[in-house]
């Protein structure tokens, strides 16, 4: 019963990981790609590791898996933010249908500051 639940969680997590791969392949620009991959892969890995914990049901394994999950949940948004901001100021283009671009003023200021 416990192993079955672990297997189902494992399957769900892998489906989310596959979805993040499809997202990084299909999305039109860098920022939407990051939006797809960060969320889907974080949830996917969380579910896969939760399935592993349920399968083993051992305190040592649970400690490792939960530490990986907590670390990923803490660092994935930070990494996405940092790389997105660096890419924006580096001049990676937005998608042509993008509606809101709130960092444009900052970009102007930064360009003027460099002159």
């Amino acid at each position: 019963m416990r192993e079955t639940a672990g297997g189902i969680l494992l399957l769900l997590g892998t489906v989310f990981i596959l979805l993040s791969a499809v997202g990084i392949f299909r999305m039109p620009d860098l920022y939407t790609r990051m939006s797809a991959t960060t969320k889907a892969s974080t949830l996917g890995i969380g579910l896969v590791l939760a399935g592993t914990v349920l399968y083993w049901f051992d305190i040592a394994i649970a400690a490792r898996a939960i530490s990986i999950i907590v670390f990923l949940f803490l660092t994935a948004p930070v990494a996405a933010h940092i790389i997105g901001r660096a890419a924006y100021f580096d001049g990676v283009p937005l998608w042509k249908h993008t509606k809101i671009d709130e960092l444009a003023e900052d970009l102007e200021k930064k360009r003027e500051g460099e002159k």
């Binding site: 192993e3 672990g6 892998t14 791969a21 083993w56 660092t75 990494a79 790389i83």
Partner: protein
């Protein structure tokens, strides 16, 4: 075939497939940032694969490697972003 065997085998296939798809983006990705994001996602898939491997081969040794891979992936992304921000100044 029990459910856990089925799901482990399916997970191996699906994670391998997604690693292939991410490799395509790593190869064609127009900007450097695209490739950095793809690398980050690759290491995430490596962690998931390690977890599946530990069930499939009945050994939990590699779960420690998962922690290291997670830390190294984050540090690598931060370092790449740092040098990306410093790059194009005249």
């Amino acid at each position: 075939m029990t459910i856990i065997e089925f799901s482990v085998n399916t997970a191996v296939v699906l994670i391998g497939l997604s690693i292939l798809v991410i490799f395509v983006r790593l190869a064609i990705g127009p900007s450097i940032a695209d490739r950095v994001v793809a690398l980050d996602l690759l290491s995430a898939n490596a962690i998931a694969f390690i977890a599946v491997y530990s069930i499939r081969n009945n050994s939990t040794t590699f779960l420690d490697v998962g922690i290291i891979v997670a830390i190294l992936a984050f540090l690598g992304t931060v370092a790449f972003a740092f040098y990306l921000g410093k790059g194009k100044k005249p």
